[in-house]
């Protein structure tokens, strides 16, 4: 069984834990640097990206998180997590962890009153047009580099993508009872663990 960590500084943590456990993974809550040891993959959850970055800096977790990403273990970012993973953020001088070659637009779909849910087709998941994406003040991916695969789009905007061992989505897979996205990620972690063994 694989162990997936959830970065637990702020945001929807319990929901991710539930979805990961339902997908057959052990869950470890990550609040400090030393918690990053002994995990096979990491989820960077939704929350407020500004707040999460401040807390990451405060606890000197920035470098350890970047190092973790370099170890070759899979990372899955949702909503704010996607923003943290992007190389470039429109309107900001610098990205955060900068592990995925993509440019993102924060709150690209507007404020809370414009937030929505919509059925999507996500490449790599079984089924077509039946995955409910919950978008809350959500970002979108404006453009991606050559190594990044688009997994889902909505209104011609990229809302889920994968670059090797990095996975991200602009919507909240943890807010529904459909655990296919988490299942997909746990699959990636299981694959990766084989190569580490």
């Amino acid at each position: 069984m694989v162990t997936v960590g959830i970065l637990a500084l702020q945001g929807a943590i319990r929901e991710h834990a539930r979805a990961l456990e339902a997908s057959g993974a052990n869950v470890k809550i990550i609040k400090r640097i030393e918690d990053l040891e002994d995990i096979d993959g990491l989820v960077v959850p939704g929350g407020e990206s500004t707040t999460m970055r401040r807390l990451i800096d405060k606890y000197e977790m920035f470098k350890p998180l970047q190092d973790f990403a370099k170890t070759g273990k899979p990372v899955f970012g949702t909503c704010a997590g996607l923003i943290l993973m992007a190389r470039e953020i429109i309107g900001q001088e610098q990205g955060h962890l900068e592990v995925m070659d993509m440019k993102v637009h924060r709150n690209g779909f507007g404020r809370q009153r414009e937030s929505f849910e919509v059925p999507l087709t996500v490449k790599g998941l079984e089924g077509e047009g039946d995955y409910i994406g919950v978008f809350i003040r959500a970002p979108y991916i404006d453009s991606v580099g050559p190594g990044v695969e688009e997994l889902a789009t909505f209104q011609d905007r990229i809302v889920a993508a994968r670059q090797g061992r990095f996975l991200c989505c602009a919507f909240h897979p943890e807010l529904t009872d459909d655990h296919r996205m988490h299942g997909y990620f746990v699959g990636m972690v299981e694959e990766s663990k084989k190569t580490f063994a």
Partner: protein
């Protein structure tokens, strides 16, 4: 089909705020300090509760200029308060683009009988509650987030503690009951039966429940987390303290690491004077904000 304003979208927004601190601000400058300190959202209002108490008279929705100024100043979500039952104030805040509306007892109620039908709105609402009956009535009306009422603007945590403990124990009681006892419990609490049933089946409240009303120190914030709050609202506590920047950062950290007592001890040092508190028993009945709404 694209759907806006669904329960998932409204409640989900509050889920993203969990473990965080929402701070009252009265202008763009304070909003930036709050964001910089790591607040997950700000509540834009004309006066913080302590000043509302001091000023007396009728407290209304903030001037739209303040709400707009705050929206333009920060990238985190902006909440704003409407009077209980004031449909039009709530509609105005929704039109301005506020991300969450607090139908709040801190303002003078516009309706002494009816709360807003919050299901009519696309924007989500947070409401105050003192017990599970009140909490579930608000959920029944469509509130997507709850907070304890506490006693706002007093800097005294005792009422927030009372409300949080009561709600938690009432939730536990409902979860432990058999389904055939629930209707009587609904009658006793004045609670919608369907929502009690949902609580029983899921083992918890269906929406996020923050602490509010009297949080004046990092230790207060950590205490409320310890008692089971999903996060903390800080009203007068921050900008009524000597050093708001430092105070705000300390409250955010104490909330994240509420069980790390070495850390909370460290960050509580040298914060200067917290806001001056008010003993609850010294309040006249008419000064008790928590008794507004039902």
């Amino acid at each position: 089909m694209v759907q806006t304003g669904t329960d998932r979208v409204k409640r989900g927004m509050a889920e993203m705020q969990k473990g965080g601190v929402i701070m009252d601000v009265v202008n763009a400058e304070q909003a930036k300090i709050a964001e910089e300190a790591g607040a997950v959202a700000v509540m834009a209002l004309e006066r913080v509760p302590a000043d509302i108490r001091a000023a007396g008279g009728v407290a209304r929705m903030a001037d739209p200029t303040i709400v707009e100024e705050v929206i333009n100043a920060v990238s985190i979500p902006v909440m704003a308060k409407a009077r209980i039952g004031h449909i039009v104030e709530a509609r105005i805040l929704e039109a301005l683009g506020a991300d969450y509306i607090d139908e709040s007892e801190v303002l003078t109620p516009a309706d002494e009988v009816f709360h807003l039908n919050k299901r009519d709105f696309t924007v989500p609402f947070v409401c105050g509650a003192r017990d599970l009956g009140e909490a579930t009535r608000r959920i029944g009306e469509g509130a997507s987030m709850l907070r304890t009422k506490g006693e706002p603007g007093t800097g005294n945590i005792v009422e927030a503690v009372r409300h949080m403990r009561l709600i938690q124990s009432q939730v536990k009681k409902v979860v432990g009951m058999s389904e055939d006892e629930l209707m009587t419990e609904a009658k006793n609490l004045g609670a919608p039966y369907e929502i009690l049933l949902q609580i029983k089946r899921e083992g918890r409240l269906p929406v996020v429940n923050f602490a509010a009303g009297g949080v004046a120190s990092p230790a207060d914030a950590a205490l409320m987390m310890e008692l089971g709050a999903d996060g903390v609202f800080v009203g007068s506590g921050i900008f009524k303290s000597d050093n708001p920047e430092k105070f705000a950062r300390a409250i955010v950290e104490a909330t994240t690491h509420y069980q790390d007592y070495d850390l909370i001890a460290k960050l509580s040092k040298g914060l200067g004077t917290a806001m001056k508190g008010v003993e609850i028993s010294s309040l006249q009945p008419s000064e008790r904000m928590q008794d507004r709404g039902w």
